[in-house]
């Protein structure tokens, strides 16, 4: 991509200051910062919840909490991590980077953008408020069904469920608005000459994600609304006594829930190639193949949902169909792995923190992918299903594949965002502590699952004690290590650290590196021309 016209530095950033600036901002960079900061805060909120859970699971017996509170923590942990940490982090990236990378002056719908973000804090508040209310004797606490809302357990539950339903509605509206904005931006505001097939992979990953969100979030919203009417208005969508079907809820939920996995991962798969290319000092390998893989995964993701409940007693032909359609996802995913490794192959690699996280991501996400392949097998799944094997599997996917990918991206673009270099030493410590403690936490959970420990139990048989103790130790190291990340990032945001050049990394390519670090408040007001 050659840039024909260079962008002149512009400084007319007239906007309110203080709190009002952040409340009223329509600037994609400000909103990106809001999303990312919110995600960081909620990452620690969700993390603290699960550390309480791991502390309870350190030893057999009930030590710290009663089972009902335990059930609330695991469900809210998942909802917070998925909807309030990982998804906002990805949207934060989109806000900051898509306009910079495609040469657009801002997002296409700036006011919608502001609203999209400011729906999130009330949603997070709604999710966690029932904890506080319960302290004052109002209600029985937060949602206690796990993040999956399975009926009829969720019909039985207390008002924490209603709070969670409304929170999901708000989060869903926010996601859909963000998606519309991203699609509108990508389709309308690309720099002249940037055809779709010249567009950065990160924008491609998000484009597919946005379509997936628009296709599936309404299904989730519908399912939880049906749940709401079952709870309060006497409908029987999911109650057999009135002619409903509890498994219908699972079909609807996972029609959203499985694509959700790719909604969380596609933005990361989009950004990883940029990092690999930059630190291998070599162009991205197989660009077109990756774009088509994104699209293929997007399509496949909406036709495999029932593998989340193979043990529900589905008919044999359905089981065979869902098994093979699920296994098919391994093909486009293998294309991505192939391209990632081929991008590194015969490069001139150096291993700064973003590259460490990117390569760590590939290896650990590989474990998620491979265990996913065997989870697709219906017969063996009867053993894995709802055991700790699944818990380990999806944390390899969502922590290693999601969060670690996001961290790679943060380290990669932090110099661009803040104009400051983070501490490389701290970054490397953060990486190695994270990788070691992550495996210490989740590798034992594979074996716990194989040995027969069900998930979501507050207390367990004695044969599971050793692995649980190891896992808890790992989780606490993992949790504390993330403070290094927060410190490193906040330091840069506070203007500390070495100043960063426009092209912060030797091998970095793309329009965003043509701009100064940090970029001025408004960028690409005159769009660059891409040849």
């Amino acid at each position: 991509m050659d840039i024909a016209t260079h962008h002149p530095a512009q400084h007319h950033a007239a906007h309110p200051t203080g709190v009002l600036r952040w409340l009223t901002t329509t600037n994609h960079k400000d909103i990106g910062t809001l999303y990312l900061s919110f995600a960081l805060v909620m990452f620690f909120v969700g993390g603290l919840m699960i550390l309480a859970v791991r502390a309870e699971l350190f030893q057999p017996g009930l030590q710290l909490m009663q089972p009902d509170f335990f059930n609330q923590l695991i469900g809210v942990h998942a909802l917070v991590m998925i909807f309030a940490a990982l998804m906002p982090a990805a949207t934060g990236f989109a806000n900051w980077m898509i306009p910079l990378m495609i040469g657009a002056p801002d997002m296409a719908l700036p006011r919608l953008n502001n609203w999209g973000f400011w729906l999130l804090p009330p949603a997070a508040f709604l999710l966690t408020l029932p904890f506080l209310l319960a302290l004052f004797g109002i209600g029985s606490g937060a949602i206690d069904t796990g993040w999956t809302f399975y009926a009829p357990l969720s019909i039985q539950g207390g008002m924490g469920i209603d709070f969670a339903i409304f929170a999901v509605h708000l989060l869903g509206i926010s996601s859909i608005m963000g998606s519309i904005n991203i699609i509108a931006t990508i389709f309308n505001l690309r720099a002249p000459g940037m055809t779709l097939m010249k567009m950065p992979l990160f924008a491609w990953g998000w484009l597919i994600t946005a379509f997936l969100l628009i296709a599936t979030i309404p299904v989730l919203a519908g399912a939880v609304t049906m749940l709401l009417t079952d709870r309060h208005f006497g409908t029987h969508f999911f109650q057999a006594a009135g002619g409903g079907d509890p498994i219908l809820f699972q079909h609807l939920f996972w029609f959203f829930g499985h694509p959700e996995v790719y909604i969380l991962l596609l933005p990361v798969w989009g950004l990883i190639p940029h990092i690999l290319s930059a630190f291998s000092r070599k162009p991205i390998y197989g660009y077109k193949a990756q774009v088509w893989s994104f699209a293929a995964i997007g399509i496949l993701s909406v036709i495999v949902w029932a593998h989340h409940f193979f043990t529900a007693g589905l008919p044999v032909p359905a089981l065979i169909y869902f098994m093979f359609s699920t296994m098919s996802i391994s093909l486009p995913l293998a294309v991505l792995f192939f391209c990632w490794i081929a991008t590194m192959w015969r490069g001139a690699m150096s291993f700064e923190t973003p590259m460490l996280f990117a390569t760590g991501f590939i290896v650990l996400f590989g474990i998620a992918g491979l265990t996913g392949l065997i989870l697709a097998d219906v017969a063996a799944d009867a053993q894995y299903h709802h055991s700790y094997f699944v818990v380990a599997h999806f944390h390899y996917a969502l922590f290693a594949g999601g969060i670690m990918g996001v961290m790679a991206g943060v380290y990669y673009w932090l110099p661009k965002w803040t104009g400051r270099r983070y501490s490389e030493t701290l970054g490397k410590w953060h990486f190695w502590l994270t990788v070691v403690s992550f495996n210490l936490t989740f590798m034992p959970q594979f074996f716990l699952g194989l040995a027969g420990m069900p998930r979501r139990i507050p207390d367990y048989a004695l044969q599971f004690a050793e692995f649980n103790a190891i896992s808890t130790v790992g989780a606490f190291i993992l949790g504390v290590s993330q403070l290094l990340f927060a410190w490193n990032a906040i330091r840069c945001m506070g203007g500390k650290g070495q100043p960063a050049e426009a092209r912060a990394w030797e091998g970095a390519r793309g329009l965003e590196w043509e701009l100064p670090s940090p970029p001025p408040h408004h960028t690409w007001e005159i769009q660059p021309e891409v040849k």
Partner: protein, 396 residues
């Protein structure tokens, strides 16, 4: 933990375990206390499941090793520090390169749909074959937070609940070997017989799981699901509910005792005579003290999980029995039937949409009569009246 009894799942021996340990870089140490794989299989389905699991683990371990060996080789070799110059290629060029690029995907296609797909379909069809040539039926009903088992051929029905004392759970007392995996009434099944298992639930979705059987299936309220077992060797097999079903989810184990055919028949006879004795108990007149004593035991086993041992409930979640409006209603309305939302009605028919289930389906007449009498005369409730098992029987 090493002292655990024989039913603690044993790690499968041999090279597969060694392979797993080596390749997954598990921490070295006291292997005796750790299990690395499925517990020992005892049904045809579990054998098949373990076999394909092991094969698939080997396949994915090989894939993992090969792919990441290439990557790590590249990371070591193609470093800037080592003076490596970056190449500039962005895709395959020429027929030969295309061939080598496409080969891995052809291999993966073969692995997915043949190497893994064929045995997987085979195992799946075997697993779902629950109806052909079944020797007997076991009906399993999940309910918060216990299992009810029925043997339709022998007219046997009983509830099986956790037998671990609360003091062990609250760490007031040392934990037994089968902590949380022990029940008051285990399921007894004959060895070598094909048992068709029908599953349902009375409240929320539960999942019946015994790892050594290779069987896990949802128990869905209002629907029947099925699976099957053919246990190959006598023994006690333990499992748990695998679907989050409320606060007692971690406390509803499954215990199956597999015994030789003759022992099974003897057990059936014993169960039948117990049923006869229970019928006698229903017919006779009970004194109030007898009912209260019996009812206390029932309360502690069935009701205390939610309503708490002190009868005070959990505010916001489970109502108190002490001073309860429902408990302090007249026993029988003028027409001789329990009024709606009266004490008897609530215990027998439950409250739909809550964890309060219709106990008439699981408790005997004696149990219902005694627990009602107990609740009316305990926790500060002073109704002073009682209800006879025979009256409950008449109300069913």
């Amino acid at each position: 933990m090493a002292a655990c009894a024989e039913e603690i799942p044993k790690p499968i021996a041999g090279w597969r375990r060694a392979l797993l340990i080596a390749l997954l870089a598990a921490p070295a140490g006291a292997f005796a206390a750790f299990t690395w794989n499925f517990p020992e299989p005892v049904t045809p389905v579990a054998h098949e499941t373990l076999k394909i699991h092991n094969e698939f683990m080997i396949i994915i371990t090989v894939l993992f090793t090969v792919v990441f060996a290439i990557m790590i080789y590249s990371m070591a070799k193609h470093r800037k520090k080592a003076g490596h110059q970056a190449a500039g290629f962005t895709g395959p060029k020429g027929a030969l390169q295309w061939f080598w690029v496409l080969v891995p995907f052809a291999i993966l296609l073969f692995i997915d749909f043949v190497l893994m797909g064929v045995p997987a379909v085979h195992a799946l069809i075997q697993m779902e074959d629950s109806q052909s040539r079944a020797d007997m039926v076991l009906k399993v009903t999940g309910m918060q937070w216990k299992w009810q088992y029925e043997y339709p051929d022998s007219d046997i029905r009983f509830v099986s609940a956790l037998a671990t004392p609360p003091d062990q759970i609250s760490n007031a007392e040392a934990k037994g070997d089968n902590y949380l995996l022990e029940v008051d009434n285990p399921v007894v099944l004959p060895v070598g017989r094909k048992v068709r298992v029908l599953l349902t639930s009375t409240d929320v979705i539960h999942t019946w799981w015994v790892p050594q059987f290779g069987v896990k299936r949802y128990a869905i309220p209002g629907f029947l699901r099925e699976t099957w077992l053919k246990i190959e060797q006598p023994g006690t097999y333990r499992g748990q509910c695998a679907e989050l079903c409320g606060k007692g989810h971690g406390f509803m184990p499954v215990v199956v005792e597999a015994v030789p055919e003759a022992d099974y028949l003897a057990w059936v006879e014993k169960r039948k005579s117990m049923a006869l004795a229970a019928a006698d108990a229903t017919e006779r007149a009970w004194s109030k003290d007898e009912l209260i004593a019996q009812g206390k035991a029932v309360y502690e086993k069935i009701c205390a999980t939610c309503h708490q041992p002190d009868g005070r409930g959990l505010p916001g979640a489970f109502p108190a029995i002490a001073g309860s409006k429902v408990v302090n209603t007249p026993l029988i309305a003028v027409d001789g039937k329990p009024a709606k939302d009266s004490h008897v009605d609530r215990v027998m028919n439950g409250k739909p949409g809550t964890a309060m289930q219709a106990f008439k389906t699981t408790l005997s007449d004696v149990e219902i009569a005694s627990v009602i009498t107990f609740q009316r005369n305990s926790f500060g409730n002073r109704q002073g009246d009682m209800i006879q098992p025979a009256q409950i029987k008449a109300l069913r």
